[in-house]
Every structure is written in structure tokens, then in C-alpha cells.
Amino acid sequence: MKATMKKTALCLGFAAGLIALFLLLSLLVFSEEGGRSKGALDPSIAGVYDEPEGTVDVLMVGDSETYSSMIPLQLFEEHGITSYCCATSGQLLSDSAEILNILFEKQSPKIVILETDTIFRKVSTSNVMLRELGGIFAVFTNHDRWKEIGGNGGIDDDENAVDTKGYRFSKTVAAVYGDEKPKNGESGRIARPNRYYLEEIKALCDESGATLILVTTPSVLNRSEWRHDRLQELADDLGVAYLDMNDLPDEVPIDWKTDTRDHGDHLNYSGAKKVTAYLGKYLSGVESFTDHRGDEAFAAWQTEVEAFRALVKSGAPTE
């Protein structure tokens, strides 16, 4: 009996020590304050954190469909709207929620665009659990901050790189094959963990006073009727607008021989220009934005627009 008591005490002691260590690390090293720094963001979009406080009108989140089809500098050039494309390769809805959570501390965008391809990327219950656990011990959500000791994940910043505000520029043309078929199956649904995060994103936007809009950008491989139907149902449930650009061939006249960089999955610059042109008009229709063009406080944006024009001329890709 005494031995059992001793062993139980040892187990409890070890667990208590571990909890104390998690707490200490969470408070001293991986705390929320400062923890939500740019280091918590993917290096490819860390620049958004450097935008001056309260200066971004529109935030875009999503996966590669987003960063290959939305050009923030074109939105600025044509409408004076400041935006940032916070999309990353294979971004999950849990990532989108985390990015918005971080950025809402510094920015108060009027519109948040969620590109819908990410809605169909499987988020596991693990993500949800880790998030809850991170609420108690910040070390579980901010553990990747160990990389901050060397800045941008150990990769030196390229000082001459053009800040495309998250858009990944490519002029590559790889036409759709004649027999290209949509890759998703006959039917499907939005998984429950994904739904959990969608509701979380909506709640975050509501708290921050931003309007959430679901946008499907043109893609031969990802478009399908069932996806459209599920997204429309979702938008109705959440009470948000849904824009499917696959259904707007006149407004967004994508030519699948010239406007795609990889046979119909992602758009190239030519396609992205068309998407952004329509998006600018659409956004101006749903929200009144202050035109920042000519505003001294936004002079850096004008400089970036010019640098981007030069980049487009040179054709060097940013991905």
C-alpha cells in the first residue's frame, strides 16, 4: 500500500512538474503578447504584419487559388483600396482563423475575403483540440516561435524583392488540356471540423466589424456543381455573400488557353488581372472605401505599384 502511494505520488509529482513547465514556457517564452508576432505567420505573408496599424481595407485568406488570382496592388491602382493577400500554400481553415486572429489585433479591415477552395481542405479534430489546448498553454499554439531567433525562418530577406502584398506573380502559360476534368468527385459535403472553423472565422469577423465574403475564383480543376451548391447553402446559413466567379464568364472572361499557369488549376497574371478587375468593382459595390490614391500616408503603396509594374514588365515570377 505504501509503495502504491509512493508511486502514485511520483506520477502526480511528475505531471505537476510538467504542467508547471508548460505554464512557465507559455508565460515567459511563448506568451500571447508578442507571441502573435509576424513569426507566427508563414514567412511568405509575414509582410502583412509590417503594414501600419489600421491601414488595410481588405484581407484575403485562402490557399494557392487565392494568391495566384488576387492582386492587391491592382486593387489599389484601380480603386485606391488597400488589401493584403494572406494566402499560403495548402492553407487550412484553422490557419485562416489563426491568421485573422493575429491580424485583427492590428488591422480593422472592412472586408475579409475567404477563397472557398480552402473550405474543402480537410481540417482534423486535432486542429480543434490543439487550439483549445493552446488557450490554456500558449506554448501549444506558439511553439513554432523558436524560429524567430533568426528572423525570417533562417532565410535572409531579399532587399530587392517587390512587395506584392501576398500576390504570387507568374506569367507562365500552361493551357488546359483538352480533356481536363474537374478533380473533385460527384458530390461531397463540408466536414464538421471545417464548419467549426468557418463559424469561428465568421465570429472573428463580426467581432472586428469586418464583412465576410466567400469567393470562388475560376479554376477548371476545382469547380463543380456540388461545391457551388454546398457553398451557397453555407453562405445562406452564415448570412454572408457568396461570389462564384466560375459562373461569371462575361464579367470574368477567363481564356483557359492563355490565363492559367498550370493547366487549369491556378491562374497566371493574365487571369488574375481579370479576376482582380471584377473583384474591385464588386467590392466597391458592397462597401464604400476611402480612395487612398494620392494620400501621402499611402505613398509607399504607390511606390510598390510602380515596382510591381516593372516586375510585370520583366516577367520574373515571385513564386
Binding site: L25, D42, N127, L133, H143, K147, G150, G154, I155, P193
Partner: protein, 544 residues
Amino acid sequence: MSLASLLGAGKGVAMTSFFSPEFFLLFLPPAVLGYALIPQKGKKYWLLFAGYLFYWFVSGALILYLLLSTVLIHWFGIWLDRVQNEGKAAAAELEKEERKALKKKYRKKQLAIVWLAVILHIGILLVVKYSGFFAVNVNRLLSAVNAPFSVRIPKYLMPIGISFFSLQALSYILDVYHGVVKADGNIGRLALFLSFFPAIVEGPICRYGQTAERLWDCRQITYRNLTRGSQRFLFGMMKKLVVADRLNSFVVLVFNDYGNCDGGIIALGAILYTVQLYMDFSGSIDAVIGVAEIFGVPIPENFERPFFSRTISEFWKRWHVTLGAWFRDYLFYPVTASDKMKKLTSSARKKLGNHYGPLLAGSIALFCVWLSNGLWHGSDWNFIFFGMYHFVLILTGSLIAPLVRKVNAKLHIDPERFAYRLFQMIRTAILVVIGELFFRAEGLRNGFKMFGRMVTRFSFSSFNREFLEKSGLDPYDLVIVGITVAVVFAVSLFQEKRGSLRDALEKKPIALRWAIWYAAILFVVIFGAYGYGYAQIDPIYAQF
């Protein structure tokens, strides 16, 4: 929607990985606690319930395959036992000559039962795993001869772990046939043997004689088993979360987009994939053995530090040990011991001598083993090639062994010298990496293209900032992977030279032990590839 309601709905719970929080935070603690609290008599039923619940979580309705396999193999075992007993009883009353004839008759009957069990189990595997591959190739042939029709390509949902529990079931019936174990009349014990939850997804492939009795006995959970099992689990978690999952994005990029990679990057991709596969599979097996250890069940080891192997043949005795042993005991030995092969060996020995003579029959058996091994891993030509590649390497090794010995003797090379052993280990590792390149490639054609590019365009010119960003790895990731691999190497070296590291640590003062385990836990928590920015990677071998 709250977390509780999400989990309560029971949907979207993905527990294929032992390192998912669903498994080690939600499933495992209640399973262990329930086992500890339930009275001795009920413990086995609790384990059985936990096994089926776990399998239902990972496979849903496909649990029917597991149930069907259990019922069938139990029934075949009983049938075989009855025939064996009938034969014995009848033989006891006969004279020697008659007894011999009767034994032969009953042997045939038993063999027919075993064949039926094998055909049914392998048949189910063939249908769910290989019918699609078969149909695709039939269609290719039909198209080549301009046939006006084609066959429909069937699609079946494959139950997770079917390749593992099917082999376990077959090993049971074959062991009953050979008299290694007695047929079990208790279907519950057999069901627990096949459904023990830690081992059902990725093995190891246990034998009935190794685990069934121990599982059914159900020992009480002890402090030592709990701590040692948790330590083993933690070590596996480090391998999987810090190394294997971190390398995944790089490996995926290289194998999916090799057309844009230089040969050097493809070689690096193949090396990193080999590291990923080892860390993923051996890490998961560490978890399996660790969890089983908590319940006091010794599970056979599946890895014996394979990268210390000096030959390919030795490598396969150290890598996925239980699969190799299965093929050795149930395929290689029966083929070489068959009457025809014995005759072949005997006549070949006279003509070719004592070394090359037995090799002839051995190589036929070896061919069967490696064809089966390749196919077991997957239904595509690259897996068959993978098997044949190792068959050729092992056979060549055997063929040139006398020549190598002669050359070494002439050049006064001591094969036991460290430098020579190191050379052999590096050579074996390179051959393994090449094999894994074909194993991981998206089809055999892509495998050859990758290999060709690796050999003819070897450079690292595209290994730049853009590539690293695209690959999802940065220099810090590589440093952490390097440190962890070094830790695993150091532990392996210790085990190779001195035995169990945990045994050695057990003798150290408690403060030092706790400090080591706290450091290990924090290392995994901080440097693990999980949470924001990382996708959960299912165990690689679970798909086989």
C-alpha cells in the same frame, strides 16, 4: 459549435495516427484508466471493446472485414483441429503401413482446409487492394490490341490495416496446421489477438503464440510498465512529429514536381524520404510497443537499427522484421522445403557445388518472397519493381559472396575492420535509398525518370531561396531535423553496443531521469511539426 459538440457528434475524428491528440489525449487515457479500474475478469473484454471501438473510429463500417476475418479464421481453426484429432484417433488403431496412408489422407484434408482459409483471406485482399490495378492493366492490354471493349475498373474502400490483420490471421491457421499452436476454441481470445488496438493499423505482425495468451491473461498495470511504455511512446512521437512530419512538405514537392528539380535535389529528396519513412514507421512502432507495454503485453520488435546493416539481406532482417519473418516462415521455408525444390537442390548441388547448388532453389523461393513483398506494399508496378530490385540485390550478394571473400583475402582486407564495415553500411544505405526512390515515386515510369534525372543532371543549382520557401523547409527546420536524427543515431548506437538505454537510465538518480524526460517532452512540444501551418500526416504504412 463547441469542441465538445464537435467531438460528441463523433464525426471527423481522425485517429489513424497514434500521435494525434484524439488518440493520445482522448482515446488512450480512458482506455488505460478503464483497464486499470475494471475487475480482473472484465479486463480482456474491455481491451476487446477498446480494439473494436478504435477500429470503428479509423475505419467505420469497414470493421465488418475485421469481424469476418475473425469469424472465418476461428471456424477454420476449429475445423482443422477436428480433422487433426480425427486423424490421430483413427491412426492410433491401425498398423504402421496403414497408419502412414491414413496420415497422408488426413494431411491432404488439412492442407485443403488451410488452402481454403488462405484463398479466402488472400482473395479478400486481392479484391479490395488489387482488382483496380488488375483491371487497369487488362485495359492497357486490350487497348494495345485495339479491342473494342474494356473492363470496368472496380473501386473498393480498403479497410485500414487489412494487410496486417490478414497476415496475422493466416499465420494463426498455418501455425495450427504445423502444430506450433493449438486451435483456439475461444473466439474472444482470437478476436483480441487480431484486434488489439495498438497493433492493428501498422503492425507489427504478431504471431498467435507471441501475444494471444498474454493479452487474454490481462496483467495489472504497473508503475514500471506505465512509465516505460510512456517513454517508448514519447521516443516514437519525437521521431514522427519532429522529423517525419517536418520533412513531408519537402518530400511531396520533390516527388510531385521532380521535373523542376535538379538531380542533386532529387537525390536529397530520396534521402529525406528514406529518413521520413524510417522515422514515421519506426516512430509509430515505438508508439505501438509503448502502448502495449503499458498494458503489460510484450510486442515483437519491428526494427533492429536497420541502417547499421552491412548488406541488403541483413537490412531486411532489421527493417520491418515481422513482415520479413512472416515471408520467411510461411513462404520461403515451405517453398524450399517442398519435394520438388529438395530434388532440385540435390541435383544442383552435385553439378554446381555446395554454395551455388542450394542457391537455385533458394532463388526461386526468394523470387516468390520479393514478388509478394512488393505486392504487399501496394498495387502498382513501382512496388513490384521495388520487390524485384531487392530480389536482384540479395541474389547478387549471394552469388558474388565467394568472389568477394577471395578478393578480400588477396588484397589482405579484413572484413571486420571498422573502415570496411563503414563502407558496407554506406553502400547498403545508398542501395536502400535508390529502392525507396522507386517505392515513393508516383508510378514506375516517374521512378525511372527521377532516377535518370538524378544520374544525368546532378547539380544543386535550383536549390535556392525560392525552392526552400516552396518546400516549406527553412534552414532552421533542417537544423532541428539534423539534431533529432543525431539523437536517434546516438540512441541506436548505444543500443547496438550496450543494449537498452531505458534500462541504463533506470539506474540513474530520479532528478536526472526526470530532467531527461522533461527535456524530451518539451523538445517534442516545441519542435514538433503540428498545429498552425502544419497538416496532420497520416502514418505512411497505414495505407499499406
